[in-house]
Subunit: 285 residues, 4 copies
């Protein structure tokens, strides 16, 4: 994209791989699957998730501790206590974690406890935050704004890179539209385009796009087929009890089943799901 | 969907298969791939397309003869002369054809020469046309309106069914958004949802969504992974010379290559592309 | 607008005035206020509306007899019986009427009974209908499509003019957006722009934009200040009993009060509301 | 609005008036007109604006010193040097000033030099910033996000109020849509609705909505008629030389002429433009 010189490809096959933690990478042949609840609610909750999912079918855990909420009276996340929980699970299971950073002053403590820092949709053009993340020293997962054009999205990443941090992962998570049947419209054309425009890895969050758990699996498979380098999916030990986004979280068995189904699609487009073998069912032919 | 009693599933696995012409079907395990130019321009053009693509990788040809155009001064299609061309190719190659019907008075002649009648996005709520198609006696390909909600889309189909025609195929082709990078936003969440809501077959038109040929293949693969029952893709012997939509048409070799790549994705979700064997490249593993 | 040669201004002050019926005009200093129910329901209903509103504060009555409805099972309008009612009221009160035409075959009977033919949003690009209206011999009220760009809107009018009918009134009625608080977003920037681009009169329908009656008056005043040449507003003798759009219809006293309030705004921008004197309240100064 | 207890009206006529600086107020009968350039570029520029516009027709000056820009390589504003300029003009002309605050660490210096702190669209849900502004001790001008629902907008204000600052002015500035003819769609239905929902003053920014200077005046008049409590309009001594948003800035004479035209519209809805007498031209009647 014109003038986005750091994030644009210098040649058509340029592709950046980004290391997260000690042994996880995104941007190569292996897909990166991230799973976990919308919000960290308790140590027990996170332990259960890690026990069932790490390191396969999931190579990384998610869990919000600082939560951006429409209303100031809604649960705002566990804050530092949640960070401690994330940190404990991360060490016990040796699995990297990602959590959202909402402001500059949170960066230091999140960097100390997490492997990947997520910038949420509402902050995609919080330029002060983007600049500070340029100096964070850890990779950033940048979610597309609710009504951000591809140009704005790409340039938001350029802010981070131009301030010193080359490790940015783009994440399409659905955009606003006139139809409320799905929570947002997952823009997989953006994924196809971003893979051609930039050398950065591109993830997809089908959960926030769908807003309904029964639509997540289909969108996840479509995202892999479109060329996404990874997926971030909400799941919860007891989805209906989730403190937020209950309607879109998968149960842990549903999560396992979904990732299993992804392996064949990944293979079809020359990718792999780490730790999951594609199982071809006997053809109906 | 509440009150859309004819198009809604009566049980979760209900799936209607629709026969088009003598030997083509949509809604079963086999995907239906339709290809061809935006507009019929000459017999030679359509012959070339048919010679290269029928019956594999494409089971059906498309070509507009009545063209809805923003400006009254733009090419409005060849009209009846185009219909004669379509008809000739259809008979010579024994391949069914689809073309757009824009008004009630065109139905009779199109029914005489085509196997599937397309209702374009602009006419999705042309209720007079929908009612008349209820009595057309041939299957209908109903494209989603540019800003139609899923509810409106489903009920537009209900108009046709409730007026006597059970053979309706829904087609997602991208919706309007704030971003002009892609021509429209392909809403694959809608495809996933429609497959759960209705028993009708669901197709995807990645060409009109993308608006740029380099994005078509990625979106086509994503559509198959999302569960689409078929694809309708624009291709042209000389894309840059196309009288309309030149920017989004594939060349014929690109079309062949694309469909070849779809076979593996189809297999990954339990489907087949007729006449195309999935070719698994040697794994990098 | 480039190439829309018939609807574009040939010089900056060009303004077309269109006569409707014997003594009503739009496009001059006087605003045209149209009122009436969403749908014609009975002779008594239309008589009540006419008795209270004709010829001031309203110079023209509206009432749908052919109704475009999302569901085929919703009330589709009274049809020809409704047309007979419209016609009777029109003659008894000597007031012109407007009603929606949904298809070519309805044109003849509507032309016989109404003074202005409305093309609804869903049919803005029903090109077959537009072409036929080019030969209708009566003025057309063309509503903007739900997601039509200004270019598409202007060219839809060009279809009618280029097929022989110079008397087209454009009507902004709200466009689709992500926010469901209002039914649609009234795009008054479009009104300002259209008044600069075309010489055709421009009306505003605040009722369908608002979707809630308490928002109608504010939007109506804004539309006049933006430069609209007229307003079409839904009102009903018993709004809550309306068979459709009950939530947005004004009561007849509310309608009278609204138009009264418009007179001052009209005067502020050099316009007049026929039959209504601006009443300046004593200033709080 | 449900649960937005501090910003919602406790009774239908509740209206908060907010004092800005020593002698300016918004929320009463007098409209507040704010004018000035997109960005502070030089002392001379701001002096010229103040000399021509203060205190009538404009009661307050705008000028950005910290500029949110899509690209990190675009002009980011003069920063502290710009703040010094704003401060000098403010004191010399005794006129209050508003400027944008993009991050928490800028609050202290902006509070020291400006009378009103603007939160831009991109930061409407920068909750960290909103919370900090709850303790800023000066009024806040909160602009609606590019794709924010009314509910989200109202709750963003609730964040500021619930953190201690009762002085919040809401500002509608256009939302994203599919049509690029205007830069954004000015949502005056939101203004009408907000005036009914909240007791906070509501301003309108017609410049960013229009994106084209020739559309600004019409939208400004419409905003006043819709019930806005004030306007913030971009103007520049040499619009074509503006470092940003050149296409939408009015010249200073155009600004004077526009505000003059607003006085009559204001009077028509029971409001006044301070320092500007409504001049009624001789009626054509």
């Amino acid at each position: 994209m014109k003038n986005a010189k750091l994030v644009s490809k210098s040649h058509p096959t340029q592709q950046t791989a980004i290391s997260i933690g000690d042994r996880t990478t995104i941007g190569g042949q292996d897909l990166l699957i991230i799973g976990g609840p919308c919000a960290v609610e308790s140590l027990e909750q996170m332990e259960t998730v890690a026990r069932h999912l790490a390191h396969a079918p999931v190579q990384m855990l998610r869990g919000g501790v600082f939560k951006p909420r429409t209303s100031p009276y809604s649960f705002q996340g566990m804050g530092d206590a949640g960070l401690t929980i994330l940190s404990a699970v991360r060490q016990r299971y040796g699995i990297p974690v990602v959590t959202e950073v909402m402001s500059v002053h949170q960066i230091e403590s999140i960097v100390a406890h997490a492997d990947l820092l997520q910038v949420g949709s509402r902050n995609m053009q919080n330029f002060d935050l983007l600049k500070a993340l340029g100096e964070a020293g850890k990779p950033v997962l940048l979610k597309r704004g609710l009504a951000a054009t591809l140009e704005e999205f790409v340039f938001a990443a350029e802010y981070i890179l131009s301030h010193g941090n080359p490790d940015v992962i783009l994440c399409e998570r659905g955009i606003r539209s006139f139809d409320s049947f799905t929570r947002n419209i997952l823009d997989l054309g953006a994924v196809v385009a971003l893979k051609q425009i930039t050398h950065l890895p591109v993830m997809v969050d089908p959960s926030h796009a769908a807003g309904k758990r029964e639509l997540v699996a289909g969108l996840a498979r479509a995202a892999v087929a479109a060329g996404a380098d990874g997926l971030i999916i909400e799941c919860h030990p007891e989805p209906e009890q989730s403190v937020s986004d209950a309607r879109q979280a998968l149960s842990l068995p549903e999560m396992v089943e979904l990732v299993q189904s992804l392996a064949l699609v990944a293979e079809a487009v020359g990718r792999r799901v780490p730790g999951v073998e594609p199982v071809r069912e006997l053809s109906a032919a």
